[in-house]
């Protein structure tokens, strides 16, 4: 018999495919609706989008050789897993990145330091909301977020879109983010390029 958690996950799946948010995707693993894999694409106009890559294509046709420089936009593609329990949606899933990450709020083992996955969880959040919130972590970081301004309506978005470098999960990333933005962006781009070659 379908448990409430499984029923709800099926609803989430239906919703996610009926109205998919931009830059995220997710689906359950075969024969196990309690374990999902998700993909988050790096948001545009951030170090996570990979920038424009130049690809030189050389065509040789009818004795004429011409070189065409093509600009392709490659976003970083970051894979993660979501492990649900029978307590869902009353308890949040355990979310982990499989891809290597370099971010102030992501631990070395891929765990994510995010309020809605801990003390600010609410049963109304679905998988789309979780993945969108994680994607917002990549955007426009702010090392000194104001504490809970306008909770619950406004802090949610601003806390997600700004890595909190005050209580970092990755101290090196937090330090670079606060003191050497250029190096931070370079390291992020490195991670983005790695994400294209990962299995």
């Amino acid at each position: 018999m379908l448990t409430p958690a499984k029923k709800r996950l099926m609803r989430d799946f239906k919703r996610l495919h009926h109205d998919p948010p931009a830059g995220i995707s997710g689906a359950p693993y075969d024969n196990n609706i309690m374990l999902w894999h998700g993909v988050i694409f790096g948001p545009d106009d951030t170090p996570w989008d990979g920038g424009e890559q130049i690809l030189a294509l050389i065509f040789s046709a009818m004795m004429l050789t011409c070189c065409i420089r093509c600009y392709f936009k490659f976003s970083g593609t970051f894979k993660l897993t979501l492990q649900f329990t029978e307590d869902y949606p009353n308890k949040p899933p355990i979310v982990r990145f499989i891809s290597r990450m370099f971010h102030p709020n992501i631990y070395a083992d891929g765990s994510i330091c995010l309020d809605i996955l801990q003390n600010q969880w609410s049963p109304i959040y679905d998988i789309a909301a979780i993945l969108t919130s994680i994607q917002l972590l990549f955007c426009d970081p702010n090392p000194n977020p104001s504490p809970n301004a306008g909770f619950p309506f406004f802090s949610f978005q601003s806390m997600l879109s700004d890595p909190n470098a005050n209580s970092p999960a990755n101290s090196e990333a937090a330090l670079l983010f606060s003191e050497n933005k250029r190096e931070y962006n370079r390291r992020v781009r490195e991670i983005v390029e790695q994400s294209w070659t990962e299995d």
């Binding site: 029923k7 709800r8 049963p123 109304i124």
Partner: protein, 334 residues
């Protein structure tokens, strides 16, 4: 026709006898207060807007000089009076709707006696009539309140009216967000179906779309939609409860969110438990059991309702078994 005239017509219309018993928004008087707001008139006179012929220039200057964010003359009587009126209207509306629904859904001996009484008196029709009056009463007053607050903001170039509306919502006296209005709508539709009552000009519904809704038609063809899906299980609400903040959930979903067993009920929830949607605390204790809405959904979604009933009963049995096992172990001491 202007709303002021429509409202006065409503107050002195066929329902005058009914309206004598209850309070309503003093629309005309509050509008006069705004008109005679001397502070604003003085600041308006002091605007050097006459010096410019250009319309845009005038508007801009007026906007710069006449932004009296608050007006002590108006505020003193305006907001306190509106708040008093709103809470009186909400109180009267709630008590009357409760009374009507109690008569309609009463069970056991009381229900038997009422049905026996219906053989001799036609108070079913009177109930529907009062229901219709209450719907008109609450919608007209809600619109009057919204109009007067909008007018206040326009006169004072402020956002105090909007803030007051938010305050009304937080104090749970926002008339059109009342769960009792949904209950009344469900009663109306249940009665129309069962007893072949008058055609329903107020409420309609669509339960089979992705977002099941009940729609309420207001004057001037304004539609108000009430979402009938539970924000936790994302399905059509079953055995619905409205928390004090007005958000609607299935009983089992609300119980699990408040970390209480289904058989214990929402009364057992701790005062710190928060609404999953708005995070308001202490909203479970006085949650409203939407019996009329449940009856309405039971009639229209028979299969779904049966399926949910079986699932909830199974869950309840499982929970009570676990609970009493724990109690027994605790008593025995192992």
């Amino acid at each position: 026709m202007k709303f002021g005239e429509t409202f006065m017509e409503y107050l002195h219309g066929e329902q005058e006898g009914f309206l004598d018993k209850c309070s309503h928004v003093e629309y005309k008087r509050l509008k006069k207060v705004l008109k005679s707001c001397r502070v604003c008139r003085e600041s308006r006179d002091s605007c050097p807007s006459n010096e410019h012929d250009d319309d845009n220039g005038n508007a801009q200057l007026h906007h710069e000089f006449c932004q009296c964010e608050a007006c002590p003359l108006c505020d003193q009587m305006f907001f306190s009076e509106l708040m008093k009126e709103a809470s009186e209207i909400a109180g009267f509306f709630t008590s009357r709707v409760r009374h009507i629904l109690h008569l309609h859904i009463s069970t056991g001996m009381q229900g038997y006696l009422l049905r026996f009484r219906h053989c001799f008196t036609n108070d079913q029709q009177a109930m529907v009539q009062e229901g219709r009056m209450l719907i008109e009463y609450v919608t007209m007053n809600a619109i009057a309140m919204r109009k007067i607050l909008k007018k206040y903001d326009k006169v004072h170039s402020s956002v105090n009216g909007r803030k007051f509306k938010s305050k009304m919502q937080s104090e749970r006296i926002e008339l059109l967000q009342s769960p009792w209005l949904i209950e009344l709508g469900a009663f109306y539709m249940n009665f129309n179906e069962r007893d072949g009552g008058e055609s329903n000009k107020f409420f309609s519904y669509d339960l089979h779309s992705t977002q099941p809704v009940m729609t309420m038609m207001l004057p001037d063809s304004v539609k108000l939609e009430y979402n009938l899906s539970c924000a936790i299980c994302l399905e059509l609400v079953f055995n619905p409860y409205a928390l004090c903040c007005g958000h609607l959930f299935c009983k089992s979903c609300a119980c699990s969110a408040a970390s209480v067993m289904i058989f214990q009920g929402l009364k057992a929830a701790s005062p710190e438990s928060k609404c999953p949607v708005c995070r308001a605390a202490g909203v479970y204790g006085d949650a409203v059991h939407m019996l009329e809405l449940d009856l309405f959904l039971k009639k229209r979604c028979k299969e779904y309702w049966k399926e949910r009933l079986v699932a909830e009963r199974a869950e309840m049995v499982k929970q009570s078994k676990e609970y009493w096992d724990l109690q027994t172990k605790f008593m025995i001491g192992y």
